[in-house]
């Protein structure tokens, strides 16, 4: 579904991604972890081309994401990749319902009634149908992030990307967002999640990618990765986590 082949990216002289070769299969849940500054967010942002790459190839559902293409083509491609941000990025001037219906109406030309019904179903799914008329500023961080997930799902994407979805949340709100993500994974959604929630990785992920200094050092099943990491950098990372 998502396939990186020899992907390289530099910020000036600084190598942000170094020869990335990896694949997320359809229906698979991949958790990307690693120390800060290791390139996790950059990696996930190249998948819908919020970041450009300098060399290599990135395929999404059979389409070369970084090929030269028309703006409309790129917009269509992006509309098929759900993206959830660390800072939620809900549109503060629109109500919760309008946040979810805006893009289906304006981009896909769905009529208002249908978009509304769909949005209410999605809000129900993330447990926030009672907040449809509220504005983002009136919601807690966890509620905002759940709305952001519903907003992304409204475009009916075949895959969802999560860029540290719980890092900006108070601890007591992390659970509600992870529960929604767990539900998605159980429904068979293809997911790529950058996260520090190792419990989630252990329980939900099909594979864990460990990154450091722009490279994927280890890609393994979670049971294997957590009990017996092969790369010394991953061993150190995990022992640092456990010592807390």
């Amino acid at each position: 579904m998502i396939k990186f082949s020899h992907v390289n990216k530099w910020y000036g002289d600084y190598p942000a991604l170094v020869d990335i070769n990896a694949e997320v299969a359809r229906g698979e849940v991949v958790v990307v972890c690693g120390p800060s500054g290791s390139g996790k967010s950059t990696l996930i942002r190249t998948v819908n081309r919020l970041e450009e790459i300098q060399s290599g190839e990135l395929m999404f559902d059979g389409q070369n994401v970084h090929a030269k293409m028309k703006g409309a083509q790129l917009n269509h491609l992006r509309s098929r990749i759900g993206f959830v941000f660390q800072s939620f990025n809900l549109f503060p001037h629109l109500s919760v319902l309008e946040n979810v219906t805006l893009s289906p109406i304006r981009i896909n030309g769905v009529d208002r009634g249908t978009a509304r019904d769909k949005a209410m179903t999605l809000l129900e799914r993330v447990g926030l149908s009672s907040k449809a008329g509220a504005y983002p500023g009136q919601l807690s961080g966890g509620q905002q992030q759940r709305v952001a997930i519903a907003r992304a799902l409204a475009m009916e994407p075949p895959a969802m990307l999560f860029d540290e979805p719980t890092s900006a949340l108070d601890p007591e709100m992390v659970g509600e967002v992870l529960a929604v993500m767990r539900g998605l994974a159980n429904d068979g959604m293809t997911m790529m999640c950058v996260t520090h929630e190792m419990g989630f990785a252990r329980e939900v992920a099909d594979r864990v990618w460990f990154m450091d200094a722009g490279s994927i050092l280890e890609a393994a099943k979670p049971a294997e990765f957590f009990s017996n990491p092969s790369h010394p950098r991953a061993q150190r990372f995990l022992s640092d986590l456990r010592s807390h």
């Binding site: 992006r78 549109f91 001037h93 009136q138």
Partner: protein, 258 residues
């Protein structure tokens, strides 16, 4: 002196208010306000377009918008008035009323200035807003129209009112090309009385001050409203629902907004 001022006002209030209308063109305060309102109303959409051009992905649009803004910022308004006054009749082959000349000038000049206000409003929004819109599949223009501009234009409302105050003051320059506005009316009165320039122009100054000062108060009030909204809509829902932290956040936003 107060009695003289009172005398001048009671003899000439109609001239100050509407000029020689209906026996002549509309003038006085009415013309000043009409000129300023039309000026800012037409300059606003132009300003939004120039701002969008300046932030456009197309280099040609970007550089022509930037050039226009730099030219307008680099020359005094009076020069632009002269250019329009002498050039437009040559271009269209017939004479143009002073009111229209002044209106065109104000629209171009204020359009350039407003575009900078709008651009600042757009660039002050968090980058995550455009990221989120693009990630959902919106085109650049669609993201601007549905996500960025509604927020940016609301946030710059106070600056637009301030720009309106400047526009009112700029209309006085219409005097040099005989636009019958408020300053022109005052000068007519002065020419008739001959011996009372201090009183006449004091009246003029007071009128301008009252109008502009009230509008500045409006801009300040709007700024507080906007800052409160930016701090989070909970501040506008009900005072009872506002926690102490929300109040403090509102104060911070107000400070930053100043």
């Amino acid at each position: 002196m107060l009695t003289e001022i009172y005398q001048i006002v009671s003899d000439n209030w109609l001239l100050l208010l509407i000029g020689q209308y209906p026996n002549g063109p509309l003038g006085g305060m009415a013309a000043t306000m009409l000129l300023s309102l039309l000026g800012i109303a037409l300059a606003f959409p132009l300003g939004v377009l120039i701002a969008l051009a300046r932030l456009s992905p197309f280099a040609a649009l970007r550089s022509s918008a930037t050039a226009l803004i730099y030219v307008m910022r680099g020359i005094p308004l009076l020069m632009v008035i002269f250019w329009v006054y002498f050039l437009v009749p040559l271009l269209i082959g017939r004479s143009v009323p002073g009111f229209v000349t002044m209106l065109c000038t104000l629209v171009i000049y204020e359009g350039a200035f407003l575009s900078e206000v709008v651009r600042a409003g757009i660039q002050a929004l968090p980058a995550g807003q455009i990221d989120a819109a693009r990630a959902l599949g919106h085109s650049h223009l669609s993201a601007m129209r549905y996500v960025i501009l509604p927020q940016a234009l609301f946030n710059v409302l106070p600056s637009i009112v301030s720009q309106f105050v400047s526009t009112i003051q700029e209309t006085t320059l219409g005097y040099v090309i005989n636009v019958p506005e408020l300053t022109f009316a005052a000068s007519q009165i002065n020419n008739r009385l001959l011996t009372k320039p201090f009183e006449v122009f004091l009246i003029l100054a007071i009128i301008y001050f009252c109008v502009c000062w009230s509008l500045t108060q409006l801009a300040n009030w709007l700024e507080r409203r906007v800052a409160a909204r930016r701090a989070g809509p909970q501040a506008t829902v009900s005072p009872a629902a506002r926690g102490p932290s929300a109040t403090r956040l509102g104060d911070v936003a107000r400070e930053v907004g100043k």
